[in-house]
């Protein structure tokens, strides 16, 4: 029970810890992760993601002449918008298509355990995908390659922001996947919902809302991923951004559980 003020923080942290330790969650996570790499899908997604993002980053790198990863992270909101639904689309849609949902959900497991297991598998996949771009900051920093002097703190913050962004888009994408048996439809719904959150940070949309009400515009901005992503990549770990991430991800994970249970 929440008794002291510090409990407000420790309670959710303990909850998250317990979820990560749950053996069923881990079993599901391991299986899903294996599924990504037992078939071409995992490799294809990683390959294309790296190909595109690294290309766009390196394209201007030498023209700019500065050793920073900021432009790489600037690409993340848009690229992740497309690639993360591609990662999440198979999580539930494939189970429905194969009919294995019936096998999975008649095992002595709870729906939330399966939802979290799949979600964590997607998250680990995203981390692996991002980790494979580490050759960029390494090249920037290494004396024998580019001998730049990048601010590694900013690089770390950038990756943190990218992972948080991934957390949010993944939760949305997983929810979308649970809605349908068709992976393509899951992909499209995932992108669409994520796009709404993306749009809320775009100036074009904000300017339009601002005409109507400046207060509403500020509100809308804070609901969008862009605002919080910028905040994190600037290197400041604001608790408001963490709360935002966990709230949005948490909301969609909750909806995910509901949809999975609703089939009954």
């Amino acid at each position: 029970m929440i008794e002291t003020k510090s409990d407000l923080w420790t309670a959710p942290i303990i909850r998250v810890y317990r979820i990560l330790k749950d053996p069923t969650v881990r079993s599901v996570m391991r299986r899903e992760l294996g599924a990504y790499f037992n078939t071409p899908i995992g490799y294809v997604i990683i390959a294309f993601f790296l190909l595109l993002t690294c290309w766009f980053y390196v394209d201007d790198l030498f023209l700019r002449g500065t050793a920073e990863m900021r432009q790489f992270f600037d690409l993340m909101p848009l690229f992740m918008l497309i690639f993360i639904p591609a990662i999440s689309m198979r999580l539930w849609a494939e189970e429905r298509k194969l009919g294995t949902m019936e096998v999975l959900l008649t095992l002595p497991v709870k729906a939330w355990q399966v939802v979290m297991g799949k979600y964590l598998a997607g998250l680990v996949f995203i981390v692996i995908m991002l980790a494979l771009s580490l050759h960029l900051p390494l090249a920037l920093a290494s004396k024998s390659i580019l001998a730049g002097n990048p601010d590694l703190g900013q690089v770390a913050a950038g990756y943190a922001g990218a992972i948080v962004l991934g957390m949010i888009y993944l939760a949305i994408g997983a929810f979308a996947s649970a809605l349908t048996a068709d992976q393509i439809v899951a992909f499209i719904i995932g992108i669409s919902f994520s796009f709404v959150f993306f749009l809320m940070g775009q100036q074009g949309v904000l300017a339009w809302v601002r005409d109507w009400s400046p207060f509403a515009a500020d509100l809308v901005e804070r609901f969008g991923v862009g605002y919080h992503f910028q905040s994190i990549t600037r290197g400041v770990l604001d608790t408001r951004d963490i709360i935002y991430a966990f709230t949005v991800a948490g909301l969609f994970l909750f909806l995910n559980v509901l949809v999975v249970e609703r089939r009954r």
């Binding site: 053996p23 079993s27 599924a35 019936e102 096998v103 008649t106 002595p108 709870k110 009954r264």
Partner: protein, 327 residues
């Protein structure tokens, strides 16, 4: 303990999908050690019943308990007692058989040596040794069914629920699966669905017939056939009469329930099927066949075949589901 003897206790179960009553006030029990066949035409509600018992679907009315645990209050516990094989044996096709079994073992909280022991047993019981390291995607339908079955028995459940375990299999595979079910049935309680009558006669100690969500019949195959027992069939092949003529004449005999005469492809031959009425005595079929023979002699027709047939499970099923006029 009396409660544990009733592995499945279903009372007044109702499941609706919108306006459709897929399961309509169903009541039946399955006792420990039985092999019970759930029979019904396609769309009768067999799969739905199984999905409700495994807590995959939630009932809209009535109650059910599995091994004493109510499906409403503790679905996870219910599933611990059940080994379920859905229709068409859905499996993760990108995994190997070994990986899939290990995964299911983990999901059942089986670890380490215990898991290995159970997996080895299941592989051996279901004849999966030759395919243990194969990719599930490469397996034939018959072997996939076996993998599904192995996954279902892995955690040594009290009750096995199998949804049409022989559907889509070739005759050899069907015999093998039936043997497997019979073997497993020696130590476990099995509840499986099918629409193949011969399967029920071959394997089951009891049959439950479902039609349009409602219970149509419930009893041992011999009992079900005996309930039509006094109704036997006389079958004759004759040359001479027209079908209409024969129908009228035979229809006039005592104790006759239904007559159908068909023209056979060979010229002039007809086949006559006579069903005794439900109020007829046990000797009625004998008497009728004698009368038919004498009729033939009188009219100088040629008789090729005359026999009295006991009704099969198929007939019992057709009667229970109200399709008796089909033959």
């Amino acid at each position: 303990m009396a409660a544990a003897e009733l592995l499945v206790d279903v009372r007044h179960l109702v499941k609706t999908f919108g306006p459709l009553r897929a399961v309509d006030d169903l009541t039946f029990q399955v006792r420990r050690g039985e092999i019970v066949g759930l029979l019904g035409p396609n769309g009768a509600g067999k799969s739905t019943i199984m999905k409700v018992l495994t807590c995959y679907l939630v009932a809209d009315g009535g109650t059910a308990t599995v091994a004493g645990v109510s499906i409403d209050t503790d679905p996870v516990e219910v599933r611990r007692h059940i080994g379920y094989l859905p229709e068409n044996a859905p499996l993760y096709t990108e995994m190997r058989v070994s990986e899939s079994l290990k995964y299911v073992a983990r999901m059942h909280d089986l670890k380490g040596a215990k898991a290995k022991e159970r997996i080895d047993w299941a592989v051996q019981a279901c004849g999966l040794e030759p395919k243990y390291l194969s990719n599930i995607g490469t397996l034939s339908r018959g072997f996939r069914q076996r993998v599904g079955l192995a996954q279902a028995v892995l955690h040594d459940p009290d009750l096995l629920i199998l949804d049409e375990p022989t559907s889509g299999l070739d005759p050899i595979q069907i015999i093998e699966i039936r043997k497997l079910i019979g073997e497993i049935g020696k130590t476990k309680t099995v509840f499986f669905s099918t629409h193949i009558m011969q399967e029920v006669e071959a394997v089951c100690s009891r049959a439950i017939i479902i039609n349009r969500g409602k219970l149509a019949a419930d009893g041992a195959p011999s009992e079900l056939k005996a309930s039509l027992g006094k109704e036997q069939k006389v079958v004759a092949r004759l040359r001479g009469p027209t079908s209409l003529e024969l129908e009228k004449l035979v229809g006039a005999f005592d104790s006759v329930g239904a007559v159908s005469v068909q023209n056979l492809p060979n010229d002039n031959w007809v086949e006559c099927n006579v069903r005794m009425s439900s109020s007829a005595s046990g000797e009625a079929a004998m008497a009728t066949s004698e009368k038919l023979y004498r009729l033939c002699k009188e009219k100088d027709w040629t008789m090729q075949e005359l026999k009295i047939e006991a009704l099969t499970m198929e007939d019992a099923f057709l009667k229970a589901t109200g399709h008796e006029k089909l033959k």
